[in-house]
Symmetry: D2
Subunit: 155 residues, 4 copies
């Protein structure tokens, strides 16, 4: 295995291990879909357990996968032993979150030593949907702060 | 019962009925704590099912109760038959969300015919905590859009 | 002139006429650089008159050109007689705004009948800079509300 | 002069000295109105030079005084030699900014070692207006990062 492949494998393992500890993902029915350096995708099945009063997915559930997708995209850029915490985020909810599943695609806008700006787009997919039929339903922008040597905060 | 008391009772019933339809609240373990005109409180028990990887409550779960508290505060000001949808929100996460439970206190900043700006403060309470020991851990500001005569969107 | 060319010319005239009425642009030294359907660029010369205390361009001046670039990008999509007002915006300031000039590039994320989400990236250019040397220093996301038949609010 | 009075005088001098270096304030016609520990007020005369196309004060000018009021409120809490930079802010524009002058009132929500969350309310005052007639037209929330020993960034 080349160095690049080994690095990628290490990044994937790191994100997978951290995601597995985010119990809320299991609670709401989200799963880690794809990990690349600087880019992470998380999917959420549209089920009644994440519904708000009109039957759409609650903005908070949309924000949950978008925040994690953005945060994990940032984490792929962090050296081992340095974690990230969300300091703040802003989310625009542009269309009702409906369909078969939502996919949040997180990426890094600007990685800094201390602060990282990351973003996520959330797409609503229909049953049997492909990239052509998916619809942008939300976008998030987050400020993440790097945390080192702080008990309990690593990946 | 006075008119004011009847109005208050109608508002409380309306918010309770809508909250009961937000299935995500049951999924994450949140409950409606208090309803007043222009002010709504929602509590979330701090349990593993809403945890992120460091054991804190996930920012998305904090946002879920904060968004609903702000949105329902706005809804108490809306005439019957007119609902609200969150167009966007911004949340500042100022301290790790830990303790025994979180309480989101939503209120209205500016109610307009079309757009309402509402906010929420989220406090972390310790076991046996009272108002003196609770700690501000997050604040949210949301833009809500009034929706009328749109199928499925009422309260 | 083809219909498409005539439409484009009408859009350019409309934005130019509105921009000329934004007296603040003259005050801070900003100019309209480019107008296309769904995309508007505004440049700001980096001069002492827009400085904050460290000699960088003040975040408010960065926000001024970013907000107008995003708003005018949205306006290019609006029928004649319908204007837009900024309901809220969020801006990330990722690097000190320095150099010879700033260029804000506004675009439309989602155009709705009532609400439009638009964004802007702000780049810092050095003297003699070209696209290769410019640096992303800020990004803005805005919610704009369409306004019709309201006195004084057109373009 | 008591220690407390001397401390206050030092804080006021520090903010006044920094404000005097924000050349943009002079450019747009803003002035420092009041400084207290954790609270700073900045006024902006409503004149054509800060106007947008409908004759209201441009959102960017509103943001300029709100950002500085919030940032200076944070700076009053910082030890000498440590400055603050705005990492991001969000502003809600709830009513057209008109009248005789705007007053931005900045305060600190949560002061941290590294990050501070500060806010500002912006009020529109009529000619001869007093506190009773002024109207909330905007609110801002900002994340500020403390900067130390970085050339050119002190107060």
């Amino acid at each position: 295995m080349s160095d690049a492949a080994a690095d990628l494998a290490a990044i994937v393992r790191r994100i997978e291990a951290s995601f597995a500890k985010q119990a809320i993902m299991d609670t709401i029915g989200a799963e880690l879909l794809r990990v690349e350096p600087g880019r992470v995708e998380i999917a959420l099945a549209v089920t009644p357990r994440v519904a708000q009063q009109h039957g759409f997915v609650h903005a908070g559930a949309v924000a949950t996968i978008a925040d994690s997708a953005a945060g994990y995209a940032a984490l792929t850029r962090m050296p081992e032993g340095r974690g990230v915490l969300t300091a703040e985020f802003k989310i625009d909810l542009m269309a009702p979150a409906t369909g078969a599943r939502l996919v949040a695609v997180g990426s890094v806008v600007k990685a800094g030593r201390l602060l990282t700006v990351a973003q996520a787009q959330v797409f609503a997919e229909r049953v049997g949907g492909d990239a052509d039929t998916r619809k942008l339903c939300a976008q998030l922008s987050a400020t993440l702060v790097a945390v080192e040597n702080r008990q309990g905060v690593v990946d």
